[in-house]
Symmetry: C2
Subunit: 197 residues, 2 copies
């Protein structure tokens, strides 16, 4: 099982899944690979795997990415082997990726993916959250809002919709989704009880 | 949304859903209609709707049943209008019916039904539970075990499998299933946030 979370910037995704990860020790964040240079405080292998452009090219050529995309002139991708390693260790990989990447993951992994779109409670709340960061110019905020409008156009491709009207409630919904998915027949190894027993 | 629960006699279904109903006030037990005479302590409209054979015939002729079946020379059925009334009042109807009836409900209501098959933790546990009641003869127990073997043959038709290895854990799984299902895109009225807002 792989947990795919998408949703517009400002919907509060990371707050929700950080709390979710505290409650669900099987979840492990899948660290993306990027050509963007590290920002202050970012750690290689924790926030991102930082690579240069030729290294990213080689990974693309080797089909190493489950998904990758251009965002703001930089490239971001999820390495197939990283996701597989998490699964092999008994974890549930958590992928926080945009709708472009989400489509690639769904196309490739299909039924193994539990897909969740996180919505802000309202458009106004989203704008307030984006402004509240206080770090971005009006132009950047306008771009993010435009991008958010584009992202929600893909929400129909996701199985679950979680509205982040309240962080605790949103976390409880995600936890319920994980537990319920683990009870789906097709995810279970076989009948727990055989008549011949 | 309608919650359909099936599983062999002795799997502990009723213990699980009685506790579930205490935690989920929206759930309402759908009371079956039967031609079986009331046993001591049973109340009309609470345990069953008790009717005579001609009355049952008339209900069958009027297509009043969502499902009905013969069990041990008696007939049992779920009235369509009873289920609709519960839904109209904002409740989630809970149907505890055998696999025969379950197939009829799934065939008629399809996607509105959340179907759960409750498994005993083992065949031995099932037999012990059936014997533990102390009220049945060996012959009755043998019939119930045979019937249980037949019922588990239908488990593949159910979306969720809940193993009743521990009542609290089984209730938590069912609660998670209800909450997760309420987050499925197709059960939601539409996007919570529109770009035009």
């Amino acid at each position: 099982m792989i947990l795919l979370i998408s949703g517009p910037s400002g919907a509060g995704k990371s707050t929700v899944y950080q709390e979710l990860m505290r409650r669900e020790p099987r979840l492990r964040f899948s660290v993306s690979t990027t050509t963007r240079p590290p920002r202050a405080g970012e750690t290689e292998g924790v926030d991102y795997h930082f690579v240069d452009e030729p290294a990213f090219d080689r990974l693309v050529a080797a089909d190493a990415f489950l998904e990758w995309a251009h965002v703001h002139d930089r490239r971001y991708g999820t390495r197939r082997d990283h996701v597989r390693q998490l699964e092999a260790a008994g974890h549930i990989p958590l992928l926080d990726i945009d709708v472009q990447g989400g489509q690639q993951v769904l196309a490739q992994l299909g039924g193994d993916v539990v897909s969740v779109f996180v919505w802000p409670p309202s458009w106004q709340a989203l704008e307030e959250r984006l402004r509240g960061r206080g770090t971005d110019t009006d132009e950047v905020i306008a771009t993010r809002l435009q991008n958010a409008r584009w992202e929600v156009g893909f929400a129909d491709r996701y199985t679950y919709w979680v509205i982040n009207d309240d962080v605790a409630a949103a976390v409880a919904r995600l936890q319920a989704i994980l537990l319920a998915e683990a009870c789906r027949r097709e995810r279970l190894p076989g009948p727990p009880v055989r008549a011949a027993e």
